[in-house]
Symmetry: C2
Subunit: 394 residues, 2 copies
Amino acid sequence: MPIRIPSRVANIAVAQFDILNSRAAELRAQGRSVISLGQAVPGFGPPKAALDAAAAVLPEHVTHLYSADAGLLELREAVCGYLSSRHAVRATPRDLIITAGGNQAVMLALMTLVDAGDDVLLPAPYFANHEMAIRAVGATPIEIALTEEQGFRLRWDHLASALTARTRAAVICTPSNPTGAIIDPTDATRIVEELARRNIVVISDEAYMDFVYGAPHWSLASLAAWRDNVVLVGTFSKSFGMTGWRVGYMLADAGVTTHAVKVQDAMIICATVIAQRAVGAALRETPDYTSTFLPEFTRRRDVLSGRLARIPRLHWVPASGGFFAFVRVDGCTSSVALASDILERAHVVTIPGATFGKAGEGYLRFSYGTATSDQINEAFDRLEQYFRLRTDSS
Amino acid sequence: MPIRIPSRVANIAVAQFDILNSRAAELRAQGRSVISLGQAVPGFGPPKAALDAAAAVLPEHVTHLYSADAGLLELREAVCGYLSSRHAVRATPRDLIITAGGNQAVMLALMTLVDAGDDVLLPAPYFANHEMAIRAVGATPIEIALTEEQGFRLRWDHLASALTARTRAAVICTPSNPTGAIIDPTDATRIVEELARRNIVVISDEAYMDFVYGAPHWSLASLAAWRDNVVLVGTFSKSFGMTGWRVGYMLADAGVTTHAVKVQDAMIICATVIAQRAVGAALRETPDYTSTFLPEFTRRRDVLSGRLARIPRLHWVPASGGFFAFVRVDGCTSSVALASDILERAHVVTIPGATFGKAGEGYLRFSYGTATSDQINEAFDRLEQYFRLRTDSS
């Protein structure tokens, strides 16, 4: 008799990224030139300050020992300083838990604040891992469909109509992965206030806070009353090109972190210490690192936008954040089949919109985080041919 | 209105380690000489091979990127090789997920296999983080009291009488933290078979597998039928002196890991990559690293045993594994109060037995992982005086 897998877990879908990436690896192994516009990672590596610090602390015994569950105090202080100076977030190290990346921060927040059987509001298209995490803790994700016509804008009305007696939290992603949409501060203020009144927590994943074009990022934790119900999730994976290092954070009032740190202890004890020290050095020495890449990202975005415009079936209204385009495909009813077919025939990795919820069906996500302008052009030479040969729906 | 903390989380007790360590740090800051026989970490650092590998891969771009959710294939292969050659465990990389330490492996196993409301059998004295993790996923820890008179031996009878319709798993720790007791292979075989028949999973935390004295470690995953219901948890935190690096693993039949990897993706994506690469190098180059420290640990154990024998109120029957003594204190009814008083007056950190469940009340855990023989002697000079002055109970 095989080990029983609870339906809660069995029903979690495997991330499409993984399936497509595996197939891309097979094609590459067969000698195909595959261009990835798939994974939402930046192409740049860590700042020199991070790598220098890692090398410098490698011989120190303290690097090999657990840190406090909440993370090294000097890193928490550096994160508070960064959030204050760049994003107008007022917090102290007691409000902060250093996590093994943004996902662990979301999981920590959910496990600390949401019980099995609770409802969690999830504006969609959503980041797939948010939906998976909500299911993993036994809660029910309530998909709130946002529309392209409204620029994927989230308003209080969307959430108000979905509230139940079991609603415990909402998970918001701004800038959004996959759409790049940014929450409007007026909308967000209303949402946070209305939810606070109902004792509902807002988990705000702002992993792409350093990838905003044309205006500064606006954080939900910059609200004066953030402590009432906002939990901020951040990560250095994207900002410092350190996805493999696994360092992020969860910010919440100390009344929450006091309890969350117990869950943290039982979940991972602490984030990897050499990684904490590397990120701490980067925050102190090169906090503006990401901004040096934004001109290049803007160029890629322009190339992508221009090339998308030349394929009649594809439609994109550029969004203000992130490094991806969430592109509507005329006549597409199965984005999973389409992305798979594009990979097989054009050798370009894109992510099917259905990965991000029902509201994402009929879309493809194109990331320009790792692809250069030349690669984007090459990918679109192939895609133009692909779509020229297929005026039928798929 | 403060953010509501579910009772599930509010009721998790803060680990006593942290409270005592904080107080010890305060005393040290006041200039006191505090000797720690507290935390269960080894005093030695990582093997040179691990640090050399970390330095060597630091400039490589792949070090900065996510690995597969399940971990680097070469590390999974190395772990399989190690488990096969040293512990007679037959498994493939498909059965393995590299985790951010042993705790994350336990949390991953529980979250994958146990629903909120399920019962989880927990032989006690237990490792406190196991109890916390069971509560964190909303399950109920069912404490199975083991007794010192029987050498903290776990037999099938103990579990049989605690089964309910809701029993989904048992969490076993061998060698045990805190008692050092080792499960008897005959007992374990019976337990695994009986539980398999009832579709109940055995999560076997063998974090101290490389710290066994006088005989080789025996792993529950070495059973021919392990795939039916055994989930093995291991870590390199202790064996390689790398607690701060956060690398461990969960081993289960691929039918389980296929689902667990989805939870892993939503929980941490992957373990820190530079840490995975460092551990991989150490496994390949110095798999026997821990054994070079066992003679020293044996000496410390002898010193500890000899000194304990000179304090009439303290009683210890040496166990076969780990690096701690779980010591009965005559007349002690509050081990928390006693450990606190010892810290205040004798400046020695010990861990109160009640941390490890009701079955641990009246005991103190003494770790000899970091303390040298000289430090143990100094600590016991103080403890002899402490107990000489107090023949009363506390």
